[in-house]
Symmetry: C2
Subunit: 347 residues, 2 copies
């Protein structure tokens, strides 16, 4: 048994993923790198978002910035779920005012046929490269998290041609043309398996799958449109590293999220963590679930809610502290610091 009193950050993180005892919950934040940090905004001058992602040295530097400032237990590689779309032939750009614009929408079989999942690493080896560079800097002190979008969430962006308020078109397509939709999900799954394996080979300790659009599916569609394809990716990883599934707003059936094979469930802020823990097996860990709005609130309010969550999870092995969604770009650095310190000092 690990001595839980002498863990470094990486060990603490991996113990929590495995539901083993830890000295205190590990912490990282979704979207911890990027626009919330002044050092990122400084570096970003003169580059497009995609240029930063595609340059391993710059991406690694951005990955390290929040670790230096806040001492998180894990670094999440700076990249984007849409690199998979790009690697299959559908380019995208992040708009300055927020949101994503893709080169085209998927409307027909011809559009889906154009996508090629077979040569992913010709296009996006930059993310595995960024992981290698980050590992050199961090050694074995911190965990490194690689990630990908869930096939459904990616398909949704690809069909809509970017961000959309309600992703109605992609849901209509799955009702109207299920076969075409399955072809699309298959291609994305194939590309994603290649991609996450390359991230693991490059040194990722953990993979997180972002099913940010999972909660927009009706309960009877979730497994066949989203869960099943995440399961295939997790099967292909084959236990080599733990996998976190963040299925946002999927509150209807924890069994189906567990059935993906996830080692850790990422939980949004719309549900109580202890309620989730009651509904899942004891060897599945949870991650979450602070309201991200607290990062633009007063630091003492952010610290108080952080403490509340830590207390309600006290004694449950397998808990990783995080937000219920990403760090808002307008987050206040003192509020972030207050949250991080509260977790890091928790006894």
């Amino acid at each position: 048994m690990t001595d839980s009193t002498h863990l470094n950050c990486r060990e603490r993180f991996l113990c929590a993923c495995a539901c083993k005892p830890v000295d205190r919950p590990p912490i990282w934040m979704m979207r911890q790198a990027g626009r919330s940090l002044p050092e990122y905004m400084k570096l970003k001058k003169g580059y497009k978002f995609t240029e930063l992602v595609q340059n391993p040295e710059l991406a690694s530097e951005v990955t390290l910035q929040p670790i230096r400032r806040f001492g998180y237990d894990a670094a999440v590689v700076f990249s984007d779920i849409l690199v998979i779309a790009e690697a299959m032939g559908q380019k995208y750009e992040l708009m300055e005012q927020g949101g994503v614009k893709m080169d085209f929408e998927l409307n027909s079989k011809a559009d889906v046929d154009k996508l090629d999942p077979s040569r992913v690493l010709d296009h996006i080896s930059y993310t595995p490269e960024a992981i290698k560079l980050t590992r050199k800097e961090l050694g074995d002190e911190r965990a490194i998290i690689g990630f990908a979008g869930s096939p459904w969430t990616l398909a949704s962006f690809m069909v809509e041609g970017g961000s959309s308020r309600e992703n109605l078109r992609s849901r209509a397509m799955l009702y109207n043309e299920p076969k075409l939709f399955y072809t699309l999900l298959e291609k994305i799954t194939e590309a994603t398996i290649t991609y996450v394996k390359a991230q693991i080979e490059a040194g990722a300790d953990v993979i997180q799958l972002f099913d940010s659009q999972g909660g927009t599916l009706a309960p009877n569609m979730f497994w066949k449109i989203s869960g099943l394809w995440m399961q295939q990716i997790i099967d292909a990883i084959g236990g080599e590293v733990p996998v976190i599934v963040f299925a946002r707003n999927v509150h209807h059936n924890w069994q189906e999220v567990v059935q993906t094979g996830a080692n850790v469930l990422g939980i949004d802020w719309g549900i109580r963590l202890p309620d989730v823990c009651k509904a899942i097996p004891g060897d599945v860990a949870v991650q979450g679930n602070l309201d991200p709005a607290l990062l633009i609130a007063r630091p003492d309010a952010a610290a108080a809610e952080t403490q509340r969550i830590l207390e309600e999870m006290r004694g449950r092995n397998g808990f990783i502290f995080n937000l219920g969604h990403g760090v808002p770009p307008e987050a206040d650095l003192d509020a972030i610091q207050a949250v991080a310190a509260t977790v890091q000092n928790f006894k």
Copy 2:
């Protein structure tokens, strides 16, 4: 006991609200009037949205359009939740491209102090008037639904100054300045009580409270920020008419939604209706929960999912068919018709 084989639309609707037997579930759709209908788009030429809302004759005509076309069991008065903000001194406009823009944001105590809930009916008697005119047309054949936003949902729009993607500022304000936030909620509640009572007096058979932003609250905040204030409104209605509470994405605690005193719970499409029914008392009805994306899908797909929901609710007294959210503006008329006919022909 009512003879459930000889119900008109209004009786069917009211029986379902009261969990009494009916011949088939009643049907209406949130946002059934408006941009999805060509007759609305024709009428709308030359008027702003707010001009239609503020003219009782036009609002009543718009209210009646979907009844004529689809024969729904209930007409919902054409209005907007933001009329309460306007009546208290904060004007708004609906943008052509969708979304809401208010005259100003609430940033401070001074902004909240400016709001006056005491003379609501001087400003917004147009909605009760529209209900009276609609009653003249419909007689006792159809139910008429009046509505209001929940205090939290309205407060969120008022603090943000309109639509916002994540309503972070309003959530930060409730953590930062709870007293100021409670003052705001109190004022909205006072104005809303006056307003819904006037709707009932004008002939509304049912009141629906829209807590569309309810699911953006962390579970430990829901009751004190949203549920409690809806309870005050329902208490003030005092059982005169049934009340539907549509608390979108609030999946964490059905007891707290029931505790508002709602007679009917409106359910989004992210959860299974039978699961909700298991968690609530048998004398509370449910309403929902078709995925609105089916209205832009093929009519046969829309009909099939409608049938599936009808079957899973077969035998449960107290079920009103509806979407899980509003009719999308780009809805296909044939898909809407297929859904309506499937419910109307259900045996």
